[in-house]
């Protein structure tokens, strides 16, 4: 079976997903989760997060719960996507102990939450800062159940704000940073390291937790853009990687030379079209382009430059008809996915945080 056949088979599954307007959940300042109706183009509800400011969101594989992590008191809040209400919430901080973490992923049962965290202990005369560690949060006892320090070589690869995925059987944690790390959840030890890097650059928050990847979520698989380099002249290229989370295998299809930075991959519900944002140049010379790719041929079929912000995130509507540019502001710029032209701008009324956007039907 060729790689292209594998890709086509996987993408055909996506075609079964119904295409319709969705509800967007967006983390915002100072402690709000916005519920945004795509059809109305308006915020319909705001959820106050008691544990503080949201920094990441992860949608469960069944789409029923969103796990929101907050920074103010190092909290986790679980949102019921059907009722649009906070189902549970707790903070990991107590009087003298604090934790710092950014994102994570729940196990299939919803009992445990895997993440990368750092512990701070307040002593009589000093703070003791722990080493970065793989951590397991028990959602029932609402405490950190286990911690294992990262090996030195993984401190950079594991990365702050990495994207996380868990195998369907819950045995392996996948961490997508400067490398792909595979962690045995029983021992919290890295069992494999894959030399593929997420394409990212200054200002591009590519590795959102649940947001950018939601349009191509397929149980047991993780699909994303990656950068890779050949072993001889180290020429960087970008391409599409599809990870099989069950057997820890991956397939990488190179598409072209790696640009300076890329912002995520958004795939239409039928799995046939994909979009990304490519930036070249820095500061005042930075230029941003939408790239429209055909997933059957793995070719770039259209490009269009647009005026981009210094920092932004890239998203797509659930039906694949609109492209979103948002972040570092209170609004969403809406582009037509076919023409790549600006359609309108939606005012959210709150500045959005780096938690990104999660779309549910």
């Amino acid at each position: 079976m060729t790689l292209r056949t594998v890709l086509a088979a996987g993408l055909s599954l996506l075609g079964a997903l119904p295409a319709s307007a969705a509800t967007l959940f967006m983390g915002s300042y100072p402690d709000q989760l916005l519920v945004f109706d795509e059809a109305k183009g308006a915020v319909t509800k705001k959820l106050t997060l008691a544990t503080g400011l949201p920094t990441s969101m992860t949608l469960s594989d069944d789409g029923k719960r969103i796990y929101v992590t907050t920074i103010t008191t190092s909290g986790i809040e679980v949102i019921d996507t059907a009722t649009r209400k906070v189902a549970s919430k707790f903070s990991l901080n107590d009087g003298t102990t604090r934790y710092r973490f950014w994102g994570g992923v729940p196990d299939p049962t919803g009992r445990y939450f895997y993440t990368l965290l750092t512990k701070f202990e307040k002593g009589v005369d000093r703070y003791t800062v722990g080493k970065p560690s793989w951590g397991v949060v028990d959602m029932k006892t609402q405490k950190v159940a286990r911690m294992v320090e990262l090996e030195r070589e993984d401190e950079r690869s594991g990365g702050w704000r990495s994207a996380y995925k868990l195998s369907p059987d819950g045995k392996f944690l996948y961490v997508f940073g400067e490398k792909v790390l595979i962690v045995d959840t029983a021992t919290l030890k890295v069992v494999d390291r894959i030399d593929l890097a997420k394409p990212e650059g200054t200002g591009l928050e590519n590795v959102g937790f649940g947001g950018p990847m939601d349009t191509i979520r397929t149980p047991g698989q993780y699909v994303s853009l990656f950068n890779a380099a050949d072993p001889y002249i180290h020429n960087k290229m970008f391409g599409l990687a599809r990870f099989d989370l069950n057997n820890r295998q991956f397939a990488f299809t190179p598409i072209g030379p790696a640009p300076e930075a890329m912002a995520g991959l958004q795939v239409t519900p039928d799995g046939k079209q994909a979009y990304t944002v490519v930036t070249n140049g820095k500061l005042g010379n930075k230029r941003c382009e939408f790239w429209h790719m055909n997933m059957a041929t793995n070719a770039v079929v259209d490009k269009a430059e647009f005026p981009c912000r210094s920092r932004f995130r890239f998203g797509m509507s659930m039906d694949g008809a609109k492209l979103y540019i948002y972040g570092a502001s209170y609004d969403i710029e809406v582009y037509d996915a076919k023409t790549l032209k600006l359609e309108t701008t939606w005012d959210l009324g709150n500045d959005t945080t780096g938690a990104g956007m999660v779309a549910v039907e």
Partner: protein
């Protein structure tokens, strides 16, 4: 009498800049109505000393200009506040000022509602 002697690249750059400023002060007519490109000497003054992180970004971008900053700059206040990236310019959300932005949902529009912080 010169008490300090530059021993590394950064110190030499500061020494050159000070020398240029002193030269201009002695003969200001030389610089009158002059247009200075960013690549040209004397280079623009970047206020490095006012940030602890040695990473310009609040007043100027990493290239010494302003084109790389968020426009308007209020768009960038909150992400600096939460990540404590510019701890001198913006209060620290995690440790000391968790309520600084409680009354201000949109910094660009409501920045007057930001709390005052007295260290």
């Amino acid at each position: 009498m010169k008490h300090l002697r530059p021993i590394n690249k950064k110190a030499r750059a500061i020494d050159e800049a000070v020398t240029q400023i002193e030269a201009v002060a002695q003969n200001p007519d030389d610089m009158e109505e002059d247009v200075v490109a960013l690549q040209q000497q004397p280079r623009p003054h970047v206020p490095m000393g006012c940030t602890l992180s040695f990473s310009p970004g609040w007043e100027v971008d990493a290239g010494g200009g302003t084109a790389g900053l968020c426009q308007p700059v209020e768009r960038d206040i909150y992400d600096c506040y939460v990540t404590c990236f510019w701890p001198v310019q913006v209060p620290d959300h995690v440790n000391y000022s968790p309520d600084w932005a409680s009354n201000c949902a949109t910094a660009t529009k409501d920045w007057r509602n930001l709390d005052l912080v007295f260290p």
